[in-house]
């Protein structure tokens, strides 16, 4: 298959089109402008719609509308813009409207820095809006994964009738590298997806109360609201069993484990290779779904052997470390190797931290 040299953001945009996404609304913010710019060109070529909304809030509301009409729909932004979108995301989750969105994350809090960071971990995995909803959250570590995960995300969104988040740090979003793009769905397939039996889709169903479509982001009745919450909770629980994904790299005999996702995991993997070449027993656990978090990968480790865990992330204070600690428990100490502010995780930084752990372990 042909390799195309493209940015992570462009890979996300093209993969969305190939997955049958035919509606995108977004608002400019660095470093994700390549997604709306790409789709402003691309959508008209495939009979899709691109709208530059007047704000992030309006853009996600447009996606809520388009997705409620049965169309595969997407929005994207970067950290502060994603915060604004939380209203619409929560509505989609509450009304069980399938949609996909990408956060090409940058430094924070506030306006933060325009350079890459992983400061949105808790927002992405714990509380992307009000009301305690959950989402599948994928964290790509390369442009290839960004494309593949975006493509799949639409299937998951449709399967679950729920938003899916692509949490992509600004390095992976702006990095260019070769990508083998997923297959383009034909116009017939796209039409089939759109017209698939979606009795809930607001496209006009006549004047019968029993069969009308009704997109309801809330309930008047406390009884039905609790029932909806329980149904959603059962769905979230099924993800923990079936959809949690992690890469476990050289963990079988490892005495030190690095935990990292996105670009930090990629840098950490290089460090693992360097230390392995020196005979040091080190491995990597990379959450691919940061939600649900792969707790099992940490729980099943043999702690008679694993002496320490190193959490590597581009966030200060450490954020994912909270989940890593939950997975590890008191069976091993969890150390951190951190940077933030738009500084990109350095190989030497991780190497030094890992070597120090080996000294402590001895």
């Amino acid at each position: 298959m042909a390799r195309i040299f493209m940015k992570g953001c462009e890979a996300i945009a093209e993969a969305a089109v190939r997955a049958g996404c035919r509606f995108f609304a977004g608002y400019p913010i660095t470093p994700q402008n390549e997604i709306p710019e790409y789709l402003a060109r691309r959508m008209p070529e495939v009979g899709g719609v691109f709208v530059q909304g007047e704000s992030e809030i309006a853009s996600v509301s447009m996606v809520y509308g388009a997705a409620s009409a049965g169309c595969r729909s997407m929005t994207s932004s970067s950290s502060p813009g994603i915060a604004l979108k939380s209203e619409g995301i929560s509505y989609c989750a509450s009304a069980r409207v399938p949609m996909v969105y990408a956060n090409i994350s940058r430094g924070g809090p506030g306006v933060g820095s325009i350079q890459p960071a992983q400061m949105d971990y808790l927002q992405a995995t714990k509380a992307s809006g009000n009301g305690g909803f959950e989402m599948l959250v994928f964290a790509p570590a390369s442009a290839q994964e960004a494309a593949d995960m975006t493509y799949e995300a639409f299937d998951y969104a449709d399967r679950d009738r729920n938003p899916v988040l692509i949490l992509c740090d600004g390095v992976v979003g702006t990095l260019m590298e070769p990508v083998e793009l997923p297959e383009m769905k034909t116009d017939e397939e796209v039409a089939r997806i759109k017209n698939a039996k979606k009795p809930w889709a607001c496209i006009g169903h006549g004047s019968d109360y029993a069969t009308r479509a009704w997109i309801q982001p809330g309930q008047w009745s406390t009884v039905t609201q609790q029932r909806e919450n329980e149904k959603a909770a059962a769905l979230y629980e099924s993800w923990r069993r079936n959809d949690t994904r992690a890469e476990e790299y050289l963990t079988d005999d490892a005495e030190v484990i690095i935990a990292a996702y996105g670009i930090s995991a990629r840098v950490s993997k290089t460090v693992v290779d360097i230390l392995r070449a020196q005979g040091k027993k080190i491995g990597l656990i990379r959450p691919i779904t940061v939600h649900p978090f792969p707790f099992e990968s940490f729980k099943k480790l043999d702690y008679a052997r694993v002496k320490a865990v190193l959490d590597v992330e581009m966030a200060i204070p450490a954020l994912m470390a909270q989940d890593v600690e939950k997975g590890v428990g008191d069976r091993a100490p969890v150390h951190t190797c951190l940077c933030s502010g738009g500084n990109i995780m350095k190989k030497e930084h991780v190497l030094t931290a890992a070597e120090k752990l080996f000294l402590l372990v001895k």
Partner: protein, 180 residues
């Protein structure tokens, strides 16, 4: 085999394009992995611009490294800012038309090319980056020069009349790089 390259200059010198052309060519070469990472200031014009290119036979773990095998500097401030990142024995490519600063390292090999002057001689100041790409390829042969030339024609050939100019610029650079 992995090569880390940093290209640095100011906005408008085609620094990003130089890195992208090289990366595209590496992508077109079977079996090579390549990453390109741009780093801009917030300004739209006149700020600093630099990009990191990694070309490797294996998967690339670190697209933005600290230690560079090769460094291309298109202006003086970039030399001072990044010379320390070049590994001992690394290769330094300098736009000698405008870089007047002293090179305070004697453990690196220096390839000087007056690409600003040469571009003016060729009649278009914009091709200085293509000349420098030629210099880099001529010296390192990191990607086959024919593949690079194809990429230049493909990426910069939207205006057909510019194709001969860009070819000429690339070849002028190759000659310098090969030490002729």
């Amino acid at each position: 085999m992995e090569t880390n390259l940093l290209v640095a200059g100011f906005g408008g010198q085609g620094v990003m394009m130089l890195g992208k052309l090289l990366s595209h060519a590496a992508c077109d070469s079977a079996q090579k992995n390549v990453t390109f990472f741009p780093s801009y200031g917030a300004e739209q014009r006149g700020g600093t611009a630099n990009c990191y290119v990694v070309i490797s036979d294996d998967a690339i773990g670190v697209p933005v490294g600290d230690v560079m095998d090769d460094l291309i500097v298109m202006n003086g401030p970039s030399l001072n800012k990044f010379i320390g990142a070049l590994k001992p024995g690394g290769r330094l490519f300098v736009n000698s038309s405008i870089v007047r600063e002293e090179i305070k390292r004697n453990d690196v090999s220096v390839i000087k090319a007056p690409v600003t002057e040469l571009s003016l001689k060729l009649g278009n100041p914009k091709v200085l980056n293509v000349i420098m790409l030629g210099v880099y390829i001529g010296r390192t042969n990191i990607v086959d020069e024919a593949v690079v030339e194809e990429v230049i024609v493909r990426q910069l050939g939207k205006k057909a009349e510019l194709i001969p100019l860009n070819r000429e610029a690339f070849h002028a650079g190759l000659e310098i790089g090969k030490g002729r």
